[in-house]
Subunit: 223 residues, 2 copies
């Protein structure tokens, strides 16, 4: 009665060495470089898509990543796109004192993505992340925030389909993959691809075996 669009196909066939996939242009070596606990900064902006936010935070914590949830505009509770109210761990301003993070994650949601695109602090964070070659991950509408800040221009990415017109001029846009990795940039399409997105980030930070273990515990496959 139900199936993920292309679920078992693309991301799940994206694996480290087995295949050359157009979707994974280069592979990061974060995990190979160090066994230290990795860190993730997840931005929580007003109007964020709460499923994309929650899946990223939960899955990365299941993978043993040290996750900080940063409120874009402060540490007060944030009303998400469908009125779920989530309390960040701290404000983005506070979280910046603990830079660097191995990955900065931008959940989607139209309101949240617009707010991140308009935030000067986000622009600075993303530029510092990019120039140091650390991971940036954005899903759904959030790649438009990257575009507004001039991040990863020219790279290959995907997004929520309706955002494509805002992205095609600056990026090499992919329509037919749920998750796209181009070097230090990981992008994905929407709520229905959020598990895949979070597992792909987990794989980068904690390794393939850990991502597979986490997927299995959630009754999903990750190959």
């Amino acid at each position: 009665m139900y199936s993920m669009l292309r679920w078992p196909l693309r991301l799940l066939s994206l694996s480290r060495s087995r295949e050359s996939s157009v979707l994974s242009i280069t592979q990061s070596k974060f995990f190979a470089e160090s066994n230290m606990t990795k860190s993730a900064l997840i931005i929580l902006a007003p109007g964020a898509e709460e499923m994309e936010f929650t899946i990223a935070a939960d899955v990365l914590r299941r993978a043993g990543v040290n996750v900080t949830v940063a409120g874009l505009n402060g540490s007060e509770p944030v009303k998400c796109s469908r009125d779920v109210v989530i309390v960040p761990d701290k404000s983005l301003e506070e979280a910046l004192a603990d830079e660097p993070y191995d990955v900065v994650v931008l959940p989607g949601g139209l309101g949240g993505s617009n707010a991140m695109g308009d935030s000067k602090a986000m622009g600075e964070l993303l530029r510092s992340q990019e120039s140091a070659g650390r991971l940036i991950a954005a899903i759904c509408a959030a790649p438009t925030a990257l575009a507004k800040h001039g991040i990863a221009t020219g790279k290959t990415l995907t997004s929520y389909p309706a955002m494509k017109p805002q992205l095609v001029d600056k990026y090499c846009y992919v329509d037919d993959a749920n998750v796209v990795q181009d070097g230090n940039l990981i992008t994905s399409r929407g709520p229905g691809t959020a598990y895949e997105f979070a597992l792909k980030i987990s794989e980068q930070l904690a390794g393939t075996a850990k991502a597979q273990e986490v997927a299995k515990g959630m009754l999903l496959n990750f190959n």
Copy 2:
């Protein structure tokens, strides 16, 4: 708000054959009976699985259902199983003043499920829901809370696989379906089946076309 007399508590019609991953023993007629906005009460307990909670709340709101998020132990922020902190709309006690709800939804998570199973107020709510023939939906570990309160005994259900030993004696346990409906009881297995679970509830309350539309907006299929 509308007549429950025609609700087929344990009717006969077997599942629609086109639904393969859902076992549907009886088919409810909520949507056919009334076009009024339907209501859902989603319980938010300490230790709830935040993805299962958030997906249920978000998807049902996308489907136009009037969702109330009730904190099991009050209206204060609730720390979920992977430390995501969510603010309920009101306490369960307050929410009970607005009974009845067309569906009561129990997200999983071990801590949350244990708390719901130990709560006297939950027991009363579930008994009132069951005796009126209204929908009860539980995912992951949450069916164990139904078992503790003696709800839906003898019905066909599923759960997170590890919970099976606690359920086989009281229920007809299904291993090989992501979502199981037996009359007014809808159950599901875990985070990886949470979209399916939420879409199935949405279908019951808002109709198949609406559930399909919501699925499509999330880049999922629901047939």
